[in-house]
Homo-oligomer: 418 residues x 2
């Protein structure tokens, strides 16, 4: 049942809490984050009991096994959640200090200060760990946050939310700093997405349908990525064994995630060596190769690729393979079909890797490394609040600093403008 006034009230309370927490000390927010971790460890049983209710309902509803797997918690997963929160507590506080200061010729001191965005909303699907991660990242960056998880995870999210709220209040911060909404429907989300005065940014996390819904309905700026069509380009100067290892890792290690490899581009001069070996290696691992004509000639196990394959985010044991004439054609392919997520070049040539870095403008460019490293944790951001594949505000994985901005602090001594 939609209750617009409850949603509007949540927004107003978040704005008020955001103003209060923006003035709090980093030490106080660290204390609150550590209290969340302790609360998770102390409340394993109520969290697992709540999770069991969600799992039972999910199985009765016939949810897919992969969905149930993302939803399911056990003692070790709750422990991992607590450890992730502790790592966020250990991060440097990103807000408050002046990042730089210049003195203008007239003596005016112009400082740039990093401050919180204010109020963040995260709309997500099955994974209950997002609740504690996002709450901790919001506290680290001095923001209030509204969390709307999937309804199939509502008992789990409510139990985790209770832990978070108790921790925040016991640290002396406003209870509304973190609000976990569990009893809301699509109309409530629509109402939430209209609160442009009280919410500064919305981050949807989940499938493309959820993200398109949020983008279409929101009056608040949205940070998002629709999909990851990640490429590996094997240059003529590649170490072939390295290329095979990196492609295998990118495709097979966890095919269902957005930073897995979807298309391999192979330089024509090295294709005779790479394509048959790649076909054999991936074939053994159960991967279907969707190949261009040249790929099919070099690896007869390939199925013919269509135009759709170059656009595909398979998220499965499928990969598109195309032989290109040169690095220019590889870059043109990435411009035409890429999603600005992550692209890798495998090459020992400084000239080729420098050109690839200069001309491929994706949010992550990997040189001789797996696309699977495109992840906030792997890149040293601590936990990740989301990934952006559009260039405004953030580009690539976002951590706590992605939830901040800079403003001007100007100190004068009676300065007026002539």
């Amino acid at each position: 049942m939609t209750d617009i006034s409850a949603i509007e009230s949540a927004g107003r309370q978040a704005r008020a809490a955001g103003r209060e927490i923006a003035g709090s000390s980093g030490a106080q927010r660290t204390d609150a984050i550590l209290r969340i971790a302790a609360g998770l460890r102390e409340n394993v049983k109520p969290i697992l009991d709540a999770n069991a209710l969600d799992l039972e309902a999910g199985r009765a509803k016939g949810l897919e096994a992969s969905f149930i797997d993302r939803l399911a918690l056990d003692a070790s997963r709750v422990d991992a959640m607590a450890r992730a929160v502790e790592e966020i507590a250990a991060q440097a506080d990103p807000v408050g200090a002046l990042e730089s200061e210049i003195i203008r010729p007239n003596g005016l001191r112009v400082g740039r200060q990093r401050i919180p965005l204010g109020v963040v909303a995260v709309i997500y699907e099955a994974r209950p760990n997002v609740t504690s991660d996002a709450a901790a990242l919001a506290l680290r960056s001095g923001n209030a946050i509204i969390l709307k998880g999937g309804s199939d995870a509502r008992h789990s999210n409510r139990a985790i939310g209770d832990v978070v709220t108790a921790a925040v209040q016991s640290a002396g911060l406003p209870g509304a700093t973190v609000q976990v909404l569990t009893a809301v429907d699509r109309d409530d989300i629509r109402a939430l997405l209209k609160l442009e005065d009280d919410i500064d940014v919305v981050i949807p996390r989940g499938g493309e349908a959820l993200i398109r819904f949020v983008s279409a309905e929101s009056r608040i700026p949205v940070i998002k990525h629709y999909k990851g069509v990640c490429h590996v380009y094997v240059d003529a100067a590649a170490d072939v064994q390295m290329a095979l290892r990196i492609i295998e890792n990118g495709k097979v290690q966890r095919p269902s995630v957005c930073n897995s490899v979807e298309t391999v581009l192979v330089h024509g001069d090295i294709a005779d060596e790479v394509v048959p070996a790649l076909g054999a290696l991936l074939g053994e691992r159960g991967v279907t190769i969707h190949g261009c004509e040249r790929t099919q000639q070099l690896y007869p196990g390939a199925v013919p690729a269509t135009e759709d394959d170059w656009h595909a985010e398979y998220l499965s044991l499928d990969v598109a393979v195309r032989v290109v004439d040169d690095i220019g054609q590889a870059i043109a392919h990435i411009h035409a079909y890429g999603s600005d997520h992550t692209e890798a070049i495998i090459s020992g040539s400084l000239h080729a890797t420098q050109r690839f870095r200069a001309e491929v403008q994706s949010s992550c460019v990997m040189v001789n490394a797996s696309t699977r490293f495109a992840d906030g944790g792997q890149l040293g951001l601590g936990a990740e609040i989301g990934i952006s594949t559009s260039r405004l505000h953030a580009y690539g994985p976002m951590g706590a600093e992605g939830l901040t901005t800079t403003r001007f602090v100007v100190i004068g001594d009676g300065h007026i403008r002539e």
Copy 2:
């Protein structure tokens, strides 16, 4: 006459040019910017001839004198445009270099590189100097740009656009790097605002009606500010003469701009001294004071303020004045009525100024300085492409760096994820 295909073609050409210019050197872009300045100086006559056509049409149409003033060029204004462009040429190049690099425990080098946004569109009203300023800022930051000025300035913009295009091409950069659209109507703008694949950000500059139109129609992210309701708070520990000078400067020096003062908040302990002096000073300068009850008692020349006055962006010789009990009430007033643009505190108290800085989260906070310094040039950014009063991406005046973002460049040596 709307020609959607021409607009779509402009978007595609901008994307292609943006990719090319992103790989160009800073030196080549500096050369192009200097050629714009030289071209402006060499083409004063054709630019003024074109401007005369706009002025004639504008007068025949009965446009307001202030509008005609913003539109009008003369030799010294064209010279000022050339100088502004030369200053942008002299700025440090913001793009290309790694801003930071860390080495992860596994040896992976994770760099953050500043890169252009890609394609920027600016939609503006009467001032022809925006055309050359914005073109130069786009080149400085490695972006392609689409410029849509007001139809009342179309001859002027076409003449300036011709100078810019010739300069860009003679520097060996793609002609479509800067596109000046002069023959487009509202439907064309609507079509432009749907090109989310080819344009990365839209910056509307002009009145609130234009900005609301662009925000409502755009599928592309918009950077904007609706209005500037700027406050000066005169603390109990203020130097009264300094406060009077700063308020006078903020209100009278140029009342029609967004960083002028609209509301003055006076601490009750000092109101007996400040309000009568302020009333006398501003009264002499022709300013009408819209005062709270206490203000009216202390300065009988004040007219009664209504709720609307606290929200007002007058842009005229009017100012709202309210006596507050303490700094907390001043900050609460700013939270309730402010526009996140610029607020100033006048105080000799470190405690009061630190509290004001911490709790007022506007994009510019001034301590003992005029709000009129909230301007890209005054803050040391060089020219200004726009001002943002929402916190995503940019907050406050934006220069060339505001047209850039950072992405990840990761160097491995065959690294795969375990």
